[in-house]
């Protein structure tokens, strides 16, 4: 069931009605049933994987709580890691590594006969396995005691607003909320609906509309297009993936808020970042903090010799790239971001001297704009690899853009899609600028009723007029 599907439009109100009708002690059962039903709408049999992951981690958490011996606790942690990562590897990465190995063996004319594993990738597996792993690692580290209530823990693993595409919630933040009684709160309810509306707008009006153009350029034979077309398609993809993913996050956070639950913010105007480091504090925050806390810090972070520090950065970002997809393009994308950070660290003294020489320190406004533009374009360079089908195609696209090849020839495609896309981008820029330090929901909340209702009516009517309703999959569902 997709958030932008008609089924969700029926499922969600029914769930809310039931939620607020039931006494608190029955709510977790209802939410658990609703969450399992939500997931089973994709492929019913895959619920077994979530249940298995839940039971293993629940048991491992309890066992870790029963002993103070680090050696024994580590045993249960390893069990959780092997089970969850084993599941993830089997369904998501086995074929990728298998085919890569096959190519290597074939290259050396050696025999290789490991068969292809023909299985559908379970939706959201990368998200819920990371969520449960964060629980077992936190229990191991003593950050949190084990959860004794199996039902509440199962709900933590499968809570439907954030089950299939995040935000990846920490147990210390989400688990206690399931035990707390949530009375009906007008501000939360309306604020949640506002967020859902804005998320839906970003998804169906902006992201899905942009994807029509991007798929046409990147999905066909991109090398046949001009450099200008490829550049525009890359910009469009940058907006598309942002609106697709942040739109989904907004709907998830909004849906939870309607019920009184607080999920973490996942995006904070990432394309206004003034550096790659800042970008990763604003983009997919739940994932980047997960990698920081459970991989980067475990490797030693930056409290190690310099070379080791740079290696840690590369490892974290390469693994992050691999998390996004089983393709060398994602690995390269991750590597590129790791490289950006290392280069930024190495060139800090030079850049500071340059800033002073060019008098940018006296014009911070202009300097910030330049930093934002450079950061945005570095990110876009990474998106080329993220979106392309292969590294060679991505290289060809980059070459065409940077050699200014055929720059006079812009492919528009179907004119109205292009115009709607530009309209959507204009609305997005307007709203993102209006937000300043607050998020859009707080901004709207502080306005008068006329402004608020005009905003709601505008979003609703525009969704009906130019939203794309072919049930397009959220991009991050492939993870």
């Amino acid at each position: 069931m997709l958030f932008n599907s008609f089924q969700y439009l029926l499922f969600f109100p029914a769930t809310i009605l039931l939620y607020y009708s039931l006494p608190h002690r029955f709510r977790w059962q209802m939410l658990l049933a609703a969450s399992y039903y939500f997931y089973m709408c994709w492929k019913p049999e895959y619920i077994i994987l979530i249940v298995a992951s839940t039971l293993i981690d629940y048991w491992a958490g309890l066992q870790m709580g029963n002993t103070r011996e680090k050696r024994k606790r580590k045993k249960y942690l390893w069990l959780s890691l092997i089970a969850n990562l084993g599941l993830l590897f089997s369904f998501k990465y086995f074929n990728f590594f298998n085919e890569s190995a096959r190519e290597v063996f074939n290259h050396f004319n050696m025999f290789y006969n490991v068969p292809y594993f023909d299985v559908l990738l379970p939706v959201g597996i990368s998200f819920y396995t990371f969520q449960t792993l964060s629980y077992t690692i936190d229990v191991y580290r003593g950050v949190k005691g084990p959860e004794k209530h199996l039902g509440i823990f199962a709900l933590y693993v499968s809570f439907f607003p954030q089950l299939v595409a995040g935000p990846i919630e920490r147990s210390i933040h989400l688990l206690p909320q399931f035990k707390k009684q949530h009375s009906f709160d007008y501000d939360n309810f309306v604020g949640g609906l506002r967020l859902i509306l804005w998320g839906m707008f970003k998804k169906v009006v902006i992201a899905d509309r942009l994807s029509i153009y991007v798929d046409k350029v990147y999905g066909g034979t991109p090398e046949a297009h001009s450099g200008l077309t490829l550049l525009i398609a890359t910009y469009f993809f940058a907006i598309q993936i942002y609106c697709d993913f942040s739109g989904y996050s907004d709907i998830a956070i909004g849906s939870a808020r309607v019920m009184g639950f607080d999920l973490m913010e996942n995006f904070k105007k990432p394309y206004f970042a003034k550096s790659i480091s800042e970008f990763w504090k604003r983009w997919h925050i739940s994932l980047s903090t997960w990698f920081r806390d459970y991989v980067y810090i475990s490797l030693g972070g930056n409290r190690v010799p310099k070379q080791r520090w740079y290696a840690n950065l590369l490892i974290v970002f390469i693994v992050s790239g691999l998390w996004h997809g089983a393709n060398w393009t994602f690995v390269f994308w991750g590597f590129l971001h790791g490289l950006y950070l290392i280069i930024a660290i190495l060139t800090t003294p030079i850049r500071q001297k340059l800033t002073q020489k060019l008098l940018f320190d006296q014009y911070p406004g202009i300097h910030n704009v330049i930093k934002v533009l450079i950061t945005f374009h570095l990110v876009c360079l990474g998106w080329v690899y993220f979106r392309a089908d292969s590294i060679s195609i991505a290289n060809a696209i980059v070459a065409k853009i940077f050699t200014f090849s055929d720059w006079g020839d812009l492919y528009i495609g179907i004119q109205r899609h292009f115009v709607y896309s530009l309209f959507g981008i204009a609305i997005l820029l307007l709203i993102e600028n209006l937000q300043t330090d607050n998020n859009i929901i707080t901004y709207i909340q502080e306005r008068n009723i006329f402004f608020r209702w005009s905003f709601y009516a505008f979003c609703t009517i525009i969704i009906l007029l130019i939203g794309v309703f072919d049930g397009g999959q959220f991009i991050y569902f492939q993870f």
Partner: protein, 344 residues
Amino acid sequence: MADNSSIFNSKSKSALALKMSVFLIFIGVIDFSVGSLLAKLYFNAREGDFGGRINLALHQTNDIVIFGSSRAQDRYIPDMIEQQVNHSVFNAGLNGQSIIFHYCLQKLIFQRYLPKWIILELNYSELLNNHGNDNHKKDYERLSILLPFAYNDQVRSVLQEGDPFLRIKLLSKIYPFNSHLLSILKFVFKPNAQGAIGNKGYTPLNGSKIDKIISITKFQKHKNLPEIELDTLKLAYLKKFIDNAYRHNVKVIICRSPTFELNTADQTFHDRVYATYKELFRKLNVPFIEITNEQYSIFDNPKLFYDIKHLNREGAEAFSKIFAAELKPFLSKFSQKNPLTAHN
């Protein structure tokens, strides 16, 4: 305190329920107003792939109506065909559509008037089963162009096959015109931009991209050609299309027209597919006109093609002349019987 909070909660819920009800009415009024205006403008349009072409087809009466996808739209020039066959002709081809759409359009046209003959331009992949591509979903999604015509019971029942929630969605007056706003406005300000009204549905394509296509096919991996298996849903709609025509005493002729063959493997495959279709049409007792590159070597000339599947203006002129000559004998000889019941 607990009592006060529950009273507060109850008041908040009531206030929210009232506000939401008022808001829904507010949205409903805007939806009705905007939707009604769009409907008025939409049904006045007479060109454009968004549905103006459908309106044009419904507001003309012609002896011969040609159905098909963009491959009908690009090559059947009504004026040229009319001159040779001495019957009025209309090109009702529409980009990206399949037999399910043609059946619905036929229903809409027959509600207005009955032509004497209908020609169905059949693409080679039209009736093939495309395993794993979920193309029925795409075919039904493309039928969204017919949403404004859901007032027709039969069209609506076809649309509901692809969308069980359609009845609820059609409560919105704007929804049927989703993504058509600019096209509708374009027609309002530039009523005959494409010239489709004067061209009676024919949409010429100018120039040729064949050289570019040939140069980029080297980037493409060679695809294994699929097994020939007919799609049961589309076959069912083809039979409905033919049967509906004959029940109204309208004769059906099916046509194969040229494509630009990039290689002999593709050409052989296309020939095999059409051989299968030919056998099918023979059993259905439906006349089948074949105009291929093999029969008419003029279509080996890439300059007549806009791309692999479509003819450009020059190609359309050459094709229409040949088609009219091939069609003429059928118009007088055609049998009155319904071929689907002829053997009962």
